[in-house]
Subunit: 419 residues, 2 copies
C-alpha cells in the first residue's frame, strides 16, 4: 500500500484556483419579494428622474422667493394661503404675488413657487402666516433629477441584492428581477463510522454532524440541498452515489474520505470521473487534506471529516465559489484585525485556522479562541463567529498580539451596546 | 392646528427603552434541519462523552507502549500486525507483547493497546512494521471525555443556532430542537402619495419602496411578513388597519406618517389604541421622528417615511427587538472602527447615521459614505454594508478620521482577498 505523495499549496493559491474556474449558473427572473440575497444578472437603470418633480423636503409653505425679500424681525412679511396640498396631490393653482400654498414633505412644488418656508419659521395669521427672513431662489426645494437621472445605472450586474437594492427595484417599478440562479448542492457524508442523527449510538460509531452542519451553512446562503444517505466505505457504491449526485447538482460536497488512508476512496473516485484535481493538499491546519476538483463543469468539494477542518474548508473554498458561480463581483470573506485576549502558544509550520469569538462593540475589537478551555471541536464551532488566521511559524501567539480574523457572518450580534 | 411638542432622547436611551419591554415569543420544537438562525429555548447537554471511547487521532498502528521501549535508529523494534480496523469497526482482539493493530483515524483503541504509532513513523515488514523510537503510555490517544463529558451544557438557552450548533445538536442526537418562535410582522406603508410597485407612475406620486425594503430585512431574519395594502391618508381607515394587523401579528411596522404634519395620523392612532409611546423623538438624523410604542403586549414601530431613516430605524430598533423577543442573549449590532476615506463636512447637533461601504480586508478597515456623489438616498442604501455613526457636534469629519460603523450584515463580502 504505497502512500500517495501530496504537495501542499498556500491557502491563497488554493482559493484562487477554485475561483479561476469558469463555472457559472444561468440567469432567471425572480419576484421582487423573493430576490433578496440573489446576485443581479443585469445592470438596472433608473426609469425616471429622482426626484421626479421639484418637491418639498419639509412640511411648510411654498412661496415665491421674491415676495420674501426684505423680511426681518422688525418687518415681517405676510402671505395668504390659497391651497393646501398633501404628499401625492398636486395643486391646480398658480401662485400670484403674496400667495402661498401649504405643502407637506414630498409634495410637488406648485406652479409659480420657487422656495419652501418651514412650518417652524412662520407665525400663523387669520388667512395665512408671516415670516421674518428672506428666501433664495430654489431654497428648500429638492430639484427634479438631482439624486438620480433617467438612464443612470443604479444597480450593477454582479451586485448582491440587499434590502436597499430591493427598495431601488421597487422605486423603479421592477416587480420581476433578473438574477443568477442559486446553485444546488449534494452533500455526501462518507465514513462507515457514521450514524444518522436519529440512530442510537453503537460501539465505535458516531453520529454524522458534518452533513447537517454543511446543510445549515448552505441553507443560510439560500442553496438548495439534497442530503445523500451515508455511504459505507466501499469504492463501487461510493462512486455510483457521487456520479448520480453530480448529474443532478451544481456541486457535490463530500465530508471525510480525503486522507490517504486505506478506506479513503475519494482520490480513486476523482480519477474514475476524470476530474481535474485543483489541489489535494493545502498548507493549513486543520484541513490540509482538503481537496477541490472539477468534473463535467461542476465543483467537487472534498472537505475533511474533522468538523473544524470541514467548517474552515467550507468558509474558505465553498462559500466564495457559490457567489463566484452566481456571478457576484464580491465573494471574498471579510477579515478584521483584533486583539488576542488569550495565549495561544502552539506553534505550527502551516497557517492555523482557529475557531474564535470576536467582540465588535466599537470600543475595541477583541478575539479569543472559542474552544479555549475544554470544549471540543464541534462545540467550539457553535460558540464562534469567526476564524483566527495564525500564520505558520516557530512561535505561538500571546495576549495582546494583533491577529487577523475571518468573519463567518451573520453571528455578529453582540452582548453589549457601545454608543 | 397646534404643533405637537416632542423632546428628543439619545439613541442609546431609545434602544434601551425598546429592549426593556418584556415581550417574548413562546417556544416550540423545530426539526434539526430547519433550526439554523433560531434562538435556543433550553440549555442543551452532552448525552455522552466525547470522545466516547479512547480513539486514534491518526492513521497508524495501535501498540503496547512498553513494547517500544529502547527502540532507536540502530535498534529498530519489530511488531506483528494481527488485525486491521477502520473507523466505525472495533477489533475483537487483545494485544499480546509485540503485536499491533492497523488503525484508522477515529477508530477505537483495541484492548491491550495504549499508544498509537503514525504510519509515517514505521517501515513495513512482511508481517508488520518496525519503528525506531519509544512511545509513552497514552501517546497519540484521544481519551474518552477529554473534550466534553456527559451532562456538560454544550449550548446555552438564548444562543443563536448557527451551523456549529447544528453540528453539536446532531452529534448528541437532537433531531428536534427547542427554539423560540420567530415573531410575525405586519408592514403598513402609509401615505397617499404611494403607488404599488406594479403601478404606473402618476403625477405627484411615487412607488412604495419602504414596504418591500422592510419586508426584505425581515425575511432575511426569517420573520414572516404580511404586507397590508397601502392606506390613504385617512384616520378612520388607518386605525382599522392597524388594529386588525395588531390582532394578527407580534409587531406592526408602519412607514411614514410619524411627523407632526396635518396628514400624519399615527400619533392619534397610538392614542386610540391606548398604546404606551416609548419615544417619538430621537436625537438622530435622519429619522428623528421615529416612534416606538407598545400596545396589548405588542410592538408598534413607527418608522420614518424617508428611506434612509426607515432603514436606520429598522437596524437600530426593530432588528434588536426581534432577537430580544426570541430570548436571544446577543441582540446588539456589531460596531467597528474604520478610517474615513472621504470628507464629510456637514456638521449636525444630532448623531448622524450615514449609509456607508466598509472595506474589511484585514490590511486595513476603511469606510466611505455610499451616497457620496450624486446617488440618492434609496440608491445609496443598496450600495452600503453599514452605517457610519457620526456623533453630533459643531464640526464635520475629514479623510483620515477614525469613525464608528454599525455593520448591517450580511453584506460583508469583499472584492479583494488579503491573506
Amino acid at each position: 500500500m504505497p502512500v500517495e505523495k501530496r504537495h501542499p499549496i498556500p491557502v491563497k493559491e488554493a482559493i484562487h484556483r477554485v475561483l479561476q474556474q469558469e463555472i457559472y449558473t444561468s440567469s432567471e427572473r425572480m419576484s421582487l419579494y423573493e430576490c433578496e440575497g440573489y446576485i443581479l444578472a443585469e445592470d438596472i437603470v433608473a426609469t425616471y428622474d429622482i426626484p421626479r418633480f421639484d418637491k418639498s423636503p419639509y412640511d411648510g409653505f411654498a412661496i415665491r422667493s421674491e415676495d420674501s425679500q426684505g423680511a426681518s424681525q422688525e418687518h415681517r412679511i405676510a402671505f395668504q394661503v390659497i391651497d393646501h396640498i398633501g404628499a401625492g396631490t398636486v395643486s391646480a393653482k398658480t401662485l400670484e404675488p403674496g400667495q402661498a400654498v401649504r405643502i407637506m414633505t414630498g409634495a410637488q412644488i406648485p406652479a409659480g413657487a420657487d422656495a419652501v418656508v418651514m412650518l417652524e419659521q412662520t407665525v400663523e395669521t387669520e388667512d395665512g402666516f408671516t415670516l421674518r427672513k428672506s428666501f433664495k431662489h430654489l431654497e428648500n426645494i429638492s430639484l427634479q433629477g438631482e439624486e438620480t437621472a433617467t438612464g443612470d445605472v443604479v444597480l450593477h450586474k454582479g451586485q448582491r441584492i440587499n434590502a436597499g437594492a430591493v427598495a431601488v427595484l421597487a422605486t423603479f417599478g421592477y416587480s420581476e428581477v433578473p438574477v443568477f440562479r442559486k446553485p444546488t448542492a449534494a452533500i455526501i457524508a462518507t465514513g462507515s463510522e457514521l450514524l444518522e442523527v436519529e440512530d442510537d449510538l453503537e460501539p465505535g460509531k458516531i453520529r454524522n454532524s458534518n452533513g447537517p452542519m454543511i446543510a445549515a451553512l448552505l441553507q443560510r446562503e439560500g442553496v438548495q440541498v439534497e442530503r445523500y444517505r451515508i455511504q459505507v466505505d466501499d469504492y463501487e457504491s461510493s462512486l455510483a452515489v457521487v456520479k448520480s449526485a453530480l448529474e443532478k447538482h451544481d456541486m457535490v460536497i463530500t465530508t471525510g474520505g480525503v486522507s490517504v488512508g486505506d478506506f479513503d476512496y475519494l482520490p480513486d473516485i476523482y480519477r474514475a470521473l476524470e476530474a481535474e484535481v485543483l489541489f489535494n493538499k493545502v498548507a493549513m491546519r486543520p484541513g490540509s487534506v482538503t481537496t477541490v476538483a472539477v468534473a463535467h463543469g461542476k465543483y467537487l468539494f472534498g472537505l475533511s471529516g474533522n468538523p473544524s477542518a470541514c467548517y474552515s474548508g467550507f468558509e474558505l473554498f465553498t462559500k466564495p465559489a457559490i457567489y463566484h458561480m452566481m456571478g457576484a463581483t464580491r465573494y471574498y470573506p471579510a477579515i478584521v484585525r483584533a486583539t488576542l485576549m488569550a495565549d495561544f502558544k502552539k506553534a505550527n509550520p502551516f497557517t492555523r485556522f482557529v475557531r474564535a469569538d470576536v467582540t465588535m462593540t466599537g470600543r475595541e475589537m477583541t478575539v479569543k479562541p472559542s474552544g479555549f478551555n475544554k470544549s471540543g471541536a464541534v462545540v467550539s464551532i457553535a460558540h464562534s463567529n469567526g476564524m483566527m488566521m495564525l500564520p505558520g511559524g516557530t512561535r505561538g501567539y500571546q495576549i495582546g498580539h494583533e491577529v487577523e480574523v475571518l468573519l463567518t457572518s451573520p453571528e455578529t450580534y453582540q452582548q453589549e451596546l457601545y454608543l
